[in-house]
Amino acid sequence: MNDANTDVIQGTLDMLILKTVSLEPLHGFGIARRVEQISRSVFKVNPGSLLTALQRLERAGWLDSEWRQTEKARRAKFYRLTRAGRKQLDIETEDWNRRASAIARLLRQEG
C-alpha cells in the first residue's frame, strides 16, 4: 500500500476543503486529518497545497477565517464556510457527480 498514489485528484481539493469545513469550522491540520480519515488514507493532503488553497478560497469569499483557541488551548486559524462558499460547494459537487458517473459508465461498457 506504500507505493499507492495518495495525491488528491487534481481539481478536487477545493471541493474537499469546502465540504470538510461545511460540517464545522476547522483549522488547517484538522481539515487535512479529516480528509485523510474519511477517505481511509486514500487521499493525503499536502500542507503547502492545503494552506495555499485556504488562502485562495478565503480570497474568493468562500471561506472566512478567525484565530481561535483550539480544544488544546492553542491558537489556530479556523476556517468557516460562507454562504457563497456553500453555493460553490453545491456547484462543484454537482459537477463532480456528473463527471464521476460519466467515467463510471465509460468503464462499465462492454467490448
Binding site: 487535512a32 500542507p47 480570497r59 474568493a60 491558537r75
Partner: protein, 220 residues
C-alpha cells in the same frame, strides 16, 4: 472571484506586512505542531514524532515559503524589493550611476529634440486650411517624375474642372548683393494665384493681383 476581496486582502497583507507574514508563519508552525502532537499520541517519542511529521509533510520552511508566495501582492513585494536592491547598488557605485544617468539623459534629450524638430517638418501636414485638398501635379517622362512645362500648366488651368484654382512655381535662387558680400537666397518663383491655391494671405504687403500680371495666367 470577488475582485474587491482580492484587493482588500492583498493590500492588507502588503501594508501590515510583518503581521501578515507572521500570520502565515504561525499557521504553518501550528500545522506542524499539530502533526507532531498527532504522532506523539500514537506513542512516538518527541524526536521520533518530529521526524515522522517532517517525513510526512516536508520541510516547514519550504511550506511556509509556498504559502507566503501566494497572491498578487507577492509580485508587488518582489518588485519593490528589486527596486530597493537596485537603488542600493546604484548608491554603492556612484561613478557608474553618474555615467549611466548622464548617458540616459543625453540620449533621451537628444531623441526628444530630434523628434520634436522632425515631427512637424516631415510628418505633420503643414497648417494650410484644407491641406488635404492641395495637390502637386507632376509630369512623367519615361516613368520618371518631371516638372511641368508652363504650356502644360496653362492648358490644364484652362480646361480642367477638377480643381478650384491652380498655380505654378519653380525653384528660384536669387543672389543678394550688398555692401559687404553677396549671398545666395533660396526661394520659389510662383504664379499670381499661388497664395489663393494654398488658401493663405501674407501678413505684410498685399497679395499679387492676377489682373496685373503681364503673362496671361488663367489659373486663378
Amino acid at each position: 472571484m470577488s475582485l474587491a476581496r482580492q484587493i482588500r486582502f492583498g493590500l492588507g497583507k502588503l501594508f501590515a506586512r510583518h503581521g501578515a507574514d507572521d500570520d502565515a508563519a504561525d499557521e504553518v508552525r501550528q500545522y506542524f505542531d499539530d502533526a507532531v502532537a498527532a504522532w506523539k499520541e500514537r506513542g512516538l517519542s518527541d524526536d521520533e514524532a518530529r521526524r515522522a511529521a517532517r517525513c510526512e509533510l516536508g520541510n516547514p520552511v519550504a511550506v511556509g515559503e509556498q504559502v507566503r508566495t501566494y497572491g498578487w501582492e507577492n509580485a508587488v513585494r518582489t518588485f519593490v524589493s528589486d527596486l530597493r536592491f537596485a537603488a542600493r547598488q546604484l548608491r554603492h557605485n556612484a561613478g557608474f550611476t553618474v555615467v549611466s544617468v548622464l548617458t540616459l539623459a543625453l540620449g533621451i534629450g537628444a531623441s526628444t529634440a530630434i523628434f520634436s524638430a522632425v515631427n512637424p517638418i516631415l510628418f505633420e501636414p503643414l497648417p494650410y486650411p484644407d491641406a488635404s485638398r492641395i495637390l502637386t501635379i507632376w509630369d512623367s517622362y519615361h516613368g520618371a517624375r518631371s516638372e511641368l512645362a508652363f504650356g502644360t500648366y496653362r492648358e490644364l488651368a484652362q480646361r480642367s474642372h477638377t480643381f478650384e484654382s491652380m498655380a505654378i512655381f519653380e525653384p528660384w535662387q536669387p543672389a543678394l548683393t550688398g555692401a559687404a558680400h553677396a549671398e545666395r537666397l533660396e526661394g520659389q518663383s510662383v504664379s499670381a494665384g499661388f497664395f489663393s491655391v494654398l488658401g493663405i494671405a501674407p501678413v505684410v504687403a498685399a497679395i499679387f493681383n492676377p489682373r496685373k500680371t503681364s503673362i496671361t495666367d488663367p489659373g486663378s
